[in-house]
């Protein structure tokens, strides 16, 4: 229909005023400088001696091993996350059983664990001296622990636990939107349960499934804390980059960074292509299929038990971190549970300036980065969705780019670009200063805030802006009363994600921190290294609380409409 084409086109209207084109230009320039330039510098750095660094990389068995390990661990992590996430999503959206609500409430809990805190919790639970390990050892009367939490499978274990949430959330959302009458139609045509699943349900869920697989793959590929702590002698690209850099082989570390980033972008392109081939829109509105009660009496009896068990496993890491935060440092040696409890860890956290400093740093740096993300991304999303100007695709690409690039690669890029002040190459000395970490957090937060805000603005009826202008509102009133309220849900959700990411950030921090601006996550690591488990746990608990506070603040509803 011609009319509707014109209407669609009018959503993004050509800017009549030069101000929005000028704004777009300024924003694009800023993002080119902060996002594209450092990554380009890394790629350029890898070719600084022609192909020499690349030859060194190709000839190094350690690097080949790291690349290979990174890739297969990511693939296995995707499979493991799907094996847990898909059935759980089906179970919780399609079946009714005792304990479902509790299970549903805690199912996303692992995602609320900052990366390093999850690793710490696993160490306390399943590590050599972990509670579960020691319990198993005692029950089985073994002289040595029944397992060691080390190597590739330990990493996959942590990944599966923390990343299945993406699969679960995406597939659940897909199932919630899923038109249940499609299943009814297939059943009416004589299709068996299995055939319905394979021929109807799964194809309809492909976009959700592929989207979540992509997230898991990218997160696994860029994962740093799990390999760093549990890797043992195992090399993966992310840790190898930092090791190579510490050894002073900068050129090779650029090659490794480039390879890591290219792998991630390649995965993104391949999975997006797969996703694009299978995108269906349900023709009718339909209705979500109702939850069915379990039929077999065995299943009905087993369900609450299984649910309790899963809930326990999901809650255990958080509980363990909190428990250990009350354990006296050094008292927990060979016992199953820490023998002595105290408030000392928290007291010291509050009173020792050296311990309090990382907390203040994390909060301040996360606040700065999130504020910058909100301002920059709100403007970018507004321009991308509601305005038409030459180079819109470039701006859209720039705000999405940090999402495709692992945190370690972003950090290496910033470290290699902002290491001196040089006006001719537009470099600024930030490495070694406070500001390098807020910058890194800002860059990592851009895609989170931008995509959520774009989503909100895309849902806005474009004629709302027209209606406001037609009623006499100037640009400021349109922005304040119509556009910003429309963008608000996405802006808040994106800012929440960005703030949570920033306050517990570890991957980029470990490359860029200095003693003065060290964040909580880095301090947790040093406490672990010093075997001050109680202090590490107290800091982790504080981090969990910060995440909780951010989430609660974001939930405060906007001022209620008054009449």
């Amino acid at each position: 229909m011609h009319e509707s084409r014109v209407e669609t086109a009018s959503r993004a209207r050509p800017s009549r005023h030069y101000s929005s084109t000028a704004g777009a230009l300024l924003l694009t320039a800023l993002l080119l400088w902060a996002v594209a330039y450092p990554n380009a510098a890394v790629v350029a750095g890898s070719f600084a001696k022609g192909l020499d660094y690349w030859r060194t990389f190709a000839a190094s068995p350690a690097d080949r091993e790291a690349l290979w390990t990174s890739l297969w661990i990511s693939v296995v992590s995707v499979i493991a996350a799907c094996v847990i996430g898909v059935p759980l999503a089906f179970l919780l959206t399609r079946r009714a059983f005792l304990g479902r609500r509790v299970l549903q409430a805690v199912a996303t809990l692992p995602a609320a664990l900052p990366p390093l805190v999850g690793v710490v919790a696993f160490l306390f639970l399943y590590g050599e001296s972990g509670v579960v390990t020691r319990t198993a050892q005692a029950v089985l009367h073994l002289d040595t622990p029944p397992w060691t939490l080390s190597g590739a499978w330990a990493i996959v274990f942590v990944h599966a636990y923390t990343l299945y949430v993406y699969v679960y959330l995406f597939v659940s959302a897909g199932l919630e939107r899923y038109d249940g009458t499609l299943d009814e139609a297939a059943a009416g045509l004589g299709a068996s349960t299995l055939r319905r699943l394979v021929r109807v349900t799964l194809p309809m869920l492909t976009p959700a499934l592929v989207g979540s697989m992509l997230l898991v793959f990218m997160s696994s590929l860029g994962s740093f804390s799990a390999p760093y702590v549990f890797g043992g002698g195992l090399r993966v690209l992310a840790t190898q980059i930092v090791a190579t850099r510490l050894n002073g082989a900068l050129g090779v570390s650029y090659v490794e960074t480039t390879v890591l980033a290219v792998s991630a972008v390649a995965a993104l392109v391949v999975l997006r292509w797969l996703e694009g081939r299978r995108r269906y829109v349900s023709a009718g509105k339909g209705a979500t299929a109702a939850r069915m009660r379990l039929r077999s009496p065995v299943a009905r009896a087993a369900a609450p038990l299984a649910a309790t068990f899963i809930v326990l496993i999901l809650v255990l890491p958080h509980a363990m971190v909190v428990l250990v935060s009350f354990a006296r440092n050094g008292a927990w040696t060979t016992q199953v549970l820490p023998p002595e409890y105290t408030l000392d860890n928290f007291r010291r956290l509050m009173t020792d300036p050296e311990l309090w400093r990382p907390v203040g740093n994390s909060v301040a740096m996360a606040a700065i980065a999130t504020a910058a993300d909100v301002i920059i991304c709100a403007a970018a999303a507004w321009l991308i969705v509601l305005r038409r100007f030459p180079g819109r695709w470039l701006l859209a690409t720039l705000v999405a780019l940090p999402w495709a690039i692992p945190g370690t690669a972003i950090a290496i890029g910033l470290a290699s670009t902002f290491n001196r002040t040089d006006l001719f190459t537009l470099r600024l000395l930030l490495v070694g200063t406070f500001w390098i970490l807020p910058l890194a957090y800002f860059v990592r937060g851009i895609p989170l805030v931008a995509s959520a805000t774009e989503g909100s603005l895309r849902q806005m009826d474009p004629s709302l802006e027209d209606a406001a202008r037609g009623l006499g509102a100037g640009w400021w009133m349109v922005l304040r009363r119509v556009t910003i309220p429309a963008a608000r849900p996405g802006l808040v959700a994106g800012a929440t994600l960005a703030a949570i990411m920033a306050v517990g950030e570890f991957v980029a921090s470990v490359v860029l921190y200095t003693h003065a601006n060290r964040p909580i996550s880095i301090d947790i690591l040093s406490q672990l290294r010093a075997f001050d488990f109680g202090t590490a746990a107290a800091e982790s608990t504080l981090l969990i609380c910060l995440v909780l506070i951010i989430t609660l603040v974001a939930r405060v509803p906007p001022r209620a409409p008054v009449t």
Partner: protein, 362 residues
């Protein structure tokens, strides 16, 4: 709007203006959405632009509102060009197709939005919003969320929001297309009554000719960006200027005829009929006659001068019956009668029962 407030009839209509479009053209790439359109809307007149999807009617409305620039031509309010005025300074009220109510504002805040933009104090604008809501039959709905309203209620809110600024011209984009048929018929009458009462100058676009005929004083028919004909509904129906108008407006069978000035001669299957022409004065010679279903009637097959044919289909349309009757020379006409007079397969005679008829010259 069923319960209009007392003061409305006496409202000063000096704010309402007359609108003129002169040779307005708008292109999107290679397509010409609006092609040299000229149109006049008098002060207080209700004019409807009717056309199919893609005829350029919505683009025309957006140009008048100021959301879309014209590539050439001019839009004038009371004789002065308004091309340089942005939408927020035109003082036009617009009702959008999907209403464009602000989802985060209450009903009253939506209605008061235009007053807020004009710096009216809060208490004052909310009081006026409640009065405006009362005038569209929604008193007491001010505190509600717009999502809680039905389609018809949202439509009234959108209308109140557009009218509260006392617009110089009221613009409506498919104002009734989201309503169910029953509500739609009620709203037609209410809209016309309200506009009459407030003496607004209104321009509305619709793809539905029944909406246009029921509400508008004059109807402009657009196709492919061009104006085909503009006039009162009866004129468009009884004396269409071209075949396209005749075919778009109402139902009609177009058959070849010979124009003899005041009369036309229609020959089907060798049987000639001489009929008076509604608006004579066109060129004489070969022409096309427009046969409306209600201008045709049944006759016994042996009736002199009747065209013979077979009833192919019969449809019950509530107040009337409609028949498809196949005549000679491959001509199929539609006939409507108030009573059931024939069945499918019947052999019937067809005659012209109402004169004059319209003749077009392609």
């Amino acid at each position: 709007m069923a319960h209009g407030s007392a003061g409305e009839g006496a409202r000063d209509d000096s704010r309402h203006g007359s609108l003129s479009l002169r040779e307005v053209t708008r292109r999107f790439g290679a397509t010409v959405a609006v092609d040299r359109l000229s149109l006049d809307i008098a002060n207080g007149e209700l004019l409807a632009i009717v056309g199919a999807s893609g005829s350029g009617k919505t683009t025309t409305l957006r140009i008048v509102a100021g959301y879309e620039p014209a590539d050439s031509g001019s839009v004038m309010l009371d004789g002065r060009s308004i091309a340089s005025l942005p939408p927020q300074r035109r003082d036009f009220g617009m009702v959008f197709q999907h209403y464009a109510l602000f989802p985060h504002l209450s009903v009253a805040e939506n209605v008061a939005f235009g007053l807020e933009a004009r710096g009216v104090a809060r208490a004052d604008r909310l009081a006026r919003a409640h009065a405006a809501l009362e005038s569209v039959g929604l008193s007491g709905a001010g505190a509600r969320a717009v999502q809680s309203l039905s389609g018809g209620e949202q439509q009234r809110v959108a209308l109140a929001r557009a009218l509260i600024i006392e617009p110089r011209v009221l613009l409506l984009d498919e104002p009734l297309s989201n309503l169910d048929p029953t509500l739609r018929r009620t709203m037609r009458d209410e809209l016309r009554a309200l506009f009459r009462r407030q003496r607004v100058t209104a321009l509305f676009v619709t793809h539905d000719q029944e909406d246009a005929f029921a509400i508008a004083d004059r109807v402009a028919l657009m196709s492919h960006g061009r104006l085909l004909q503009v006039g009162p509904p009866e004129v468009l129906y009884e004396a269409p200027a071209t075949r396209a108008v005749a075919e778009f407006v109402g139902r009609a069978t177009i058959v070849p005829a010979r124009d003899e000035g005041t009369h036309a001669v229609i020959t089907i299957g060798g049987v000639e009929r001489r009929v008076r022409i509604a608006a004579p004065g066109g060129s004489t010679g070969s022409a096309l006659a427009v046969l409306r279903p209600e201008a045709l009637g049944f006759a016994p097959p042996d009736w002199p001068d009747a065209w013979l044919g077979n009833v192919r289909a019969r449809r019950f349309a509530g107040a009337s019956y409609a028949y498809q009757v196949e005549l000679a020379d491959g001509v199929t006409v539609e006939v409507s009668t108030s009573e059931r007079l024939a069945d499918e397969g019947d052999r019937v005679g067809i005659r012209i029962v109402r004169e004059p008829i319209a003749v077009v010259h392609e």
